[in-house]
């Protein structure tokens, strides 16, 4: 498969938290040929099911990669301009001048703009202008804008993907479409790898706001194991003071460990990576992992969880940067781990 093309296609599809319909279609199209069944659950998370070859009832593994993204929502229409509010953790520092799509009656191109200082409240004339003071301009006259847009419409980023040097890709929404692509790589590898367990890949909804898809899908699916695949902080410009928290791009995915991660499941993933010489880094996660694992871990009576991270530069900006080979490695690691799961694996997860 052409991973660059797949990533670009995924990053081009909008999917602001709660409005994941467009990207769900793109993912469903990619996962359908790789699985036995693809369907959306009650809240919109997409399930793709690969039955294992073990005797029924088989144990189930859940892979979770959230498909939603941060974005904006219209709060007010003021003449030719829209006032907006954040959905998820928007970085106001990068917003002025960003191209966006306003999902009104039809999709409208627009720009996030920062009014001149004299138009801002005095408190915001120096420093970063907060999202509440930014405007969106669609280049339309007031009457036309009022006809096409209403309060509550969502707004997504519209930056075009850019291929940088050394196999790096810059794009909006790589958080977390990079992980969705890693799952695609995994499902693709499993086409030629027999596996005992059932595998359900879930592209979850509303992670950026409250991990909603992970919590609800894990409840319904009742997996024996669950792995969250999400982006983690990559080293790059501006991160020199956070050397202990960031990971170099191109050095492989991270394997998280901490209270959100089952230590034996973590050890099993690490063993597979070591055996196959797949590069990886260990990522300490002292408390909340900031991923779907946090939600899946406490579904029903509890699920052993693990976290695989993809180092990403400039997280939560429209120019997030990923090393495409890290995506490939994460997908391969998942596939190899799944191929090695047998009927006795759960017995190996003894805590003490």
């Amino acid at each position: 498969m052409d991973l660059f093309a797949h990533l670009k296609e995924l990053c081009a599809a909008p999917g602001v938290s709660g409005y994941e319909g467009r990207v769900r279609e793109v993912i469903a199209k990619a996962w359908k040929p790789l699985t036995a069944e693809v369907r959306a659950d009650r809240l919109g998370s997409l399930w793709a099911i690969r039955p294992g070859h073990g005797p029924a009832p088989r144990p189930r593994l859940m892979l979770a990669a959230h498909m939603d993204t941060i974005g904006l929502m219209v709060t007010m229409i003021e003449g030719e301009f829209l006032r907006v509010v954040s959905i998820g953790g928007i970085d106001a520092r990068v917003m002025p001048g960003q191209p966006v799509t306003v999902h009104g009656r039809r999709d409208l191109s627009g720009l996030v703009v920062q009014p001149d200082d004299f138009l801002l409240p005095k408190a915001h004339r120096e420093g970063v202008v907060p999202v509440s003071e930014l405007l969106v301009d669609c280049g339309l006259p007031a009457a036309q804008l009022a006809e096409l847009v209403q309060v509550g419409d969502v707004i997504s980023f519209a930056q075009t993907p850019i291929e940088l040097q050394n196999g790096l890709l810059a794009a909006n929404r790589l958080d977390n479409r990079a992980s969705v692509a890693a799952v695609t790589v995994c499902l693709n590898e499993l086409q030629t790898r027999p596996h005992f367990w059932d595998v359900t890949a879930v592209a979850t909804v509303q992670e950026e706001t409250r991990l909603l898809g992970a919590i609800t899908s894990a409840f319904e699916l009742q997996p024996q194991l669950a792995i969250a695949i999400d982006v983690t902080w990559g080293s790059g410009p501006g991160t020199r003071d956070y050397a202990d928290k960031v990971f170099d791009l191109g050095e492989g995915p991270t394997l998280g460990f901490g209270p959100n991660v089952h230590p034996q499941l973590h050890a099993a993933l690490k063993a597979v990576a070591d055996r196959l010489e797949i590069s990886y880094k260990l990522e300490p996660m002292a408390a909340h992992s900031g991923t779907d694992a946090f939600g899946m871990q406490i579904a029903r009576a509890g699920v052993p969880t693990a976290v695989i991270g993809l180092p990403l530069r400039n997280m939560h900006t429209p120019v997030e940067v990923i090393a495409v080979k890290d995506v490939q490695r994460a997908g391969r690691l998942l596939a190899e781990f799944i191929a090695g799961l047998d009927s006795k694996f759960m017995d190996s997860l003894q805590l003490d």
């Binding site: 990068v94 001048g97 420093g127 960031v246 997280m315 940067v321």
Partner: protein, 373 residues
């Protein structure tokens, strides 16, 4: 001469006078030509004006000077100038992680730099990069609300170390925002959106004036360099051409955005989109020639073209240099109003640009020595 009072916000301009060449505007807007490195735009312009002019040359600073002769005898020389350069950055050094240090060129608000894709014009061609920032998750609330200074920002090409970066880009290379030109909306109210509309719209206007004509005056077109760093190219144009008068074509900010609740109303809008070409009266470097202002107003009224008077205030044009040349050159500036100049993407109304072309075209067509009498 009285001015019409039809200048309220929301008044719509007339539909475009003729079908414009938006492909050429797009090529001009997308070209990377930061002050002092204007060759990409210069080349586009030289290629397109060649069949339409009687003389053309590039002067010692890089200004393009072209002449379209008149059929009238004793025709006066008229200078029409538009700057080619745009704001951007210059690479100043290499960081150990392979990223590039840079300085801004021209008036750039550093608050608009982070999180933007850029193009670097290196010897090997145009390279793509991004201006990154540390993720907000790692920052405390004070850091999240602090502007990242230019000296802390880096351009990331994706290379792994300084050595590899030096093979691609050297200190002194220039670049700017990577923004593809596009149009928004439709029909008479269509908007143009792209980088460097300041002043590629002025360049496009001047090209069109050369394609049309001849005029009762001898048209001396000057596409100037280094306007954004102090009107440098324009300093020598007035001397070289020695015209009877000069029209300077530029883009001026439309700051017609709604004010915050603290402000009563927006009293410093400068210009407004949709109200037509903006005629200058006064800016920090020029008191524009009263006779030329009146002539442009009369011309607009006669042709039924909308226009607006730019609020006197900050923001100079090449007129600031041209009107001081030799024994003094009567000059006036006319700008296309545009929002968000000097950011990754400016926004102008197609109709405002078309009406600017129509106004200057009519002013040249109707020119006589009596205007200055």
């Amino acid at each position: 001469m009285p001015r019409p009072i039809a200048q309220k916000t929301g008044t719509q301009s007339k539909p475009p006078a003729s079908s414009p060449d938006l492909d050429f505007v797009a090529r001009l807007s997308n070209a990377v030509a930061v002050s002092g490195d204007e060759s990409a735009v210069r080349k586009l312009i030289l290629d397109v004006i060649r069949p339409h002019v009687d003389e053309m040359k590039v002067d010692a600073l890089g200004n393009v000077l072209a002449v379209k002769r008149s059929r009238s005898r004793n025709a006066q020389r008229m200078l029409v100038a538009a700057h080619m350069d745009e704001i951007g950055f210059m690479v100043t050094g290499h960081d150990s992680d392979g990223s590039l240090k840079f300085d801004v060129v021209g008036g750039v608000d550093e608050r608009i730099l982070p999180g933007k894709p850029v193009l670097v014009r290196a010897e090997s061609g145009l390279l793509r990069g991004v201006i990154g920032v540390a993720p907000i998750h790692l920052l405390n609330s004070e850091q999240r609300n602090s502007v990242v200074k230019v000296k802390a920002l880096r351009i990331d090409l994706g290379v792994e170390n300084a050595e590899a970066a030096k093979k691609l880009v050297k200190a002194g290379d220039r670049g700017t925002f990577a923004t593809e030109f596009r149009t928004l909306g439709e029909g008479a109210e269509q908007s143009l959106c792209g980088k460097a509309l300041d002043n590629r719209l002025g360049c496009a206007t001047l090209v069109e004036l050369l394609q049309n004509g001849p005029y009762p005056c001898e048209l001396h077109a000057a596409f100037t360099v280094q306007e954004e760093v102090g009107l440098r190219g324009a300093r020598v144009i007035g001397y070289a051409v020695n015209p009877a008068a000069a029209f300077v074509l530029d883009c001026t900010p439309a700051r017609d955005l709604p004010p915050s609740l603290e402000e009563r109303e927006n009293i410093h809008y400068n210009t407004r989109l949709g109200l037509g070409p903006a005629i200058y009266v006064a800016d920090p470097s020029t008191l524009h020639d009263r006779r030329l202002i009146r002539y442009l107003e009369a011309t607009a009224q006669k042709a039924g073209l909308p226009y607006q008077i730019r609020q006197p205030g900050g923001g100079s044009t090449d007129a600031g240099a041209i009107h001081l040349a030799r024994a003094g050159i009567p000059s006036v500036s006319v700008s296309v109003p545009a929002r968000y100049l000097h950011t990754p993407a400016a926004l102008a109304r197609l109709a405002d640009w078309r009406n600017t072309v129509a106004l200057i075209q009519a002013a040249l067509a109707g020119w006589s020595a009596k205007v200055l009498a």
